[in-house]
């Protein structure tokens, strides 16, 4: 093969390889969710109340502690779980007791859940319990939402807003 033809062949082969690479950088396309679907995300970080109230240490207990640690109140760090439910169109699609995070169990509970739902009108209700109570809920929010295809609807919780936030 003469030099010019050889170089042309080399460039052609290399271009073909690179063209194949270039094509595979965005093809075939990927459809994350079916057509006419949307996503509802339930996500928040929220700490429940402390598991026990602070209590006053007795004089004997204080005496046993090193002088620099003699705080009159003992406040347990541990938090209880956060209980949460999410309903859609009258059906509970998520229900969980979310444990506190952290080695000492004193961090906030967290949740991040994704639900693929059909586009259209939906009745959504979120409920949460973050106290020691076993019945009923501390926070409830419900409403009707209209989801277009490809919408990303978020059910969040804001302590500042004192409840669930739909956005």
């Amino acid at each position: 093969m003469i030099a010019g033809a050889r170089v042309a062949a080399q460039i052609a082969v290399m271009t073909l390889i690179l063209a194949a690479v270039a094509v595979l950088t965005d093809w075939p396309r990927y459809h994350q969710i079916p057509a006419q679907s949307a996503i509802i995300k339930l996500s928040f970080t929220h700490g429940s109340n402390r598991q026990a109230e602070c209590r006053k240490r007795t004089a004997e207990e204080l005496a046993k502690l090193p002088p620099n640690m003699r705080k009159p109140l003992e406040c347990p760090r541990g938090r209880g779980p956060v209980y949460v439910e999410l309903d859609m169109d009258g059906r509970t699609i998520y229900r969980a007791s979310l444990p506190p995070s952290g080695i000492s169990g004193d961090g906030p509970s967290r949740v991040y859940q994704r639900f693929v739902v059909p586009a259209g009108l939906h009745a959504v209700a979120a409920r949460m319990r973050d106290t020691a109570r076993t019945e009923g809920f501390d926070y409830v929010k419900s409403g009707e939402i209209a989801l277009a295809a490809g919408d990303n609807f978020v059910v969040d919780f804001s302590a500042a807003a004192q409840g669930f936030v739909f956005r």
């Binding site: 690179l18 270039a22 595979l24 950088t25 965005d26 994350q32 961090g107």
Partner: protein
């Protein structure tokens, strides 16, 4: 599986040989191409960074601006940046598969293999963070899925995927962090690439100029034909339902929709662990490392120069002999290729010391055995064209019949052995059959052999050796047809030559060699 893979590579490499010629064959320049592509990505990345705006809105608009308003520069640079980094993934995958197929992942090769594993992770981390920066719909998909995956690990206090919950969740500083990561991770990648080649003697970090130019021309052509573009601005209130995935960097992302995140991590962790452990999995085959015979070593350093694995070094003399240094073999690095034996000036069959010792030798296949096998094989040759073959065990000549002496690498042959065969009339002609010219199994054996025969590298082939009685055939195991033809042609040519005239010599019986570097001058 490995032999099948190796045969497959052989055929593809032979095809590439025809187009690129052995010296430009990209399949044997994969490591160097990896470095070359890294520099293309780095230079194009620096250019793009000049025009990049690290903000939620600015990221997308600035990339769009450089793509369209300066398509001839920024657009091409962006395509260079993307396609070169994608090609790096291809090069890495093929490089890894080829080294596995050639059984170059364990024994002395373990270090390069093992340090190659974090390169995979760093390369992917570099590419994935790069996709985030564009902040188009693909970036949104990549960001959300990546953070959801990362949140499965018990690392972050608050789920980082919450940064992408809604448009209001994201702020400009997040992009500042991303830019920092996209610069820092490639720097770590480069550092590991440097560590990766630390134990390789004369590593190739630059491809041949011709190949580099061909690749650059091809990159320009593809960048103009299919410029890298964005896929519409990200919108966190919407789901990026239809994205063009980069299947080199993101092939596992769709898996997160089918499997749990824990299962995806298990797959990644298991695959990484398997790759990392591969060098220590059975079967274990490792010949003994070369050993130095101090009585025959004057510390000339030729073995150090020629070792492809940096397994030999010079250290301060430990015996009474009047030399400053001596060779020392690091057994952990020695591949037992025997190239050091061929380089040692003491390795000459003309110097028949007691037991034919040399300065550095292979315990499993010493020079003495090589010489004895040469003599016995030559003795069985008959006919007018007696051709003795020295064959590399990784080449086309391996596993032949009674006319062949098999060696770990043809560079194990001291040139004086060729001289010995011809001058003693042990054969009428000698064939040195190495492995494929494009890629010596022991990296430098083919090059050293050619240079020694051409009298460009010590130890030289003596001028008195009639070159018409010596030939080299470079062929892989799949090139049997070409090998057989070259051998037949040479045998025919040898048969037509006048009878070989042996040189009358007396064997030396020196028990100690004081000046081994003069070995070729000892014989009359």
């Amino acid at each position: 599986m490995r032999p099948l893979l190796r045969t497959g590579f052989e055929y593809v490499e032979r095809g590439a040989d025809r187009i690129f010629q052995p010296q430009l064959n990209p399949l044997v320049q994969l490591g160097a191409l990896g470095f070359f592509l890294f520099w293309i990505v780095a230079v194009s990345g620096i250019y793009l960074f000049i025009f990049f705006d690290t903000g939620v809105v600015g990221a997308y608009t600035s990339v769009e601006a450089m793509t369209h308003t300066q398509w001839f520069a920024g657009g091409v640079m962006r395509s260079f940046h993307r396609y070169a980094s994608d090609l790096m993934v291809v090069v890495l995958a093929v490089h890894m598969l080829r080294e596995f197929a050639l059984d170059r992942y364990r024994g002395v090769h373990w270090f390069s293999w093992f340090t190659g594993v974090p390169i995979i992770w760093m390369l992917y981390a570099s590419g994935i963070t790069g996709y985030w920066l564009v902040w188009d719909m693909l970036a949104q998909y990549v960001a959300v899925v990546s953070t959801e995956l990362l949140d499965w690990l018990p690392i972050f206090g608050e789920p980082i995927a919450r940064n992408f919950l809604a448009p209001s969740s994201l702020n400009d500083r997040f992009f500042t962090l991303l830019v920092f990561m996209h610069i820092a991770i490639p720097l770590i990648l480069l550092f590991i690439m440097w560590v990766h080649i630390l134990r390789i003697s004369r590593p190739k970090v630059n491809p041949p100029r011709g190949l580099a130019i061909v690749m650059l021309v091809a990159l320009v052509a593809v960048s103009l034909w299919k410029p890298a573009v964005s896929q519409g601005p990200a919108d966190l209130s919407k789901v990026p339902t239809n994205v063009g995935l980069d299947w080199f960097y993101l092939p596992l992302y769709p898996l997160t929709d089918l499997w749990s995140h824990g299962a995806v991590w298990a797959l990644l962790g298991g695959f990484t662990l398997m790759l990392a452990m591969l060098p220590w999995l059975p079967p274990f085959r490792r010949p003994k490392a070369a050993v130095v015979e101090l009585a025959h070593c004057n510390g000339c350093g030729r073995c150090v120069e020629d070792c492809p694995y940096e397994a030999v070094r010079l250290v301060t003399r430990t015996d009474e002999r009047p030399f400053l240094q001596q060779a020392q073999v690091d057994w952990a690095l020695c591949a037992s290729c025997g190239i050091c034996v061929g380089a040692c000036p003491s390795s000459t069959p003309f110097r028949r010391t007691a037991g034919l010792k040399t300065g550095i030798d292979l315990p499993d296949f010493p020079l003495r055995t090589l010489c004895e096998r040469t003599e016995s094989t030559a003795a069985a040759l008959t006919g007018p064209g007696r051709v003795l073959i020295f064959a590399c065990k990784h080449g086309a000549g391996a596993g032949r019949a009674s006319d062949t002496v098999e060696v770990p690498c043809v560079a194990m042959l001291p040139p004086s052995l060729i001289d010995y065969v011809i001058s003693r009339d042990l054969a009428d002609g000698v064939v040195v059959a190495g492995c494929a010219e494009r890629a010596c199994y022991h990296r430098l054996g083919g090059a050293w052999t050619k240079q020694r025969f051409a009298r460009e590298r010590d130890p030289y082939l003596r001028t008195r050796v009639p070159r018409e009685r010596l030939t080299t055939i470079w062929a892989s195991p799949t090139e049997q047809h070409g090998f057989a033809k070259a051998l037949a042609d040479f045998t025919t040519a040898i048969a037509t030559l006048p009878p070989n005239r042996p040189v009358a010599i007396d064997r030396l019986t020196t028990s100690a060699i004081e000046t081994p570097e003069l070995s070729e001058e000892v014989v009359p």
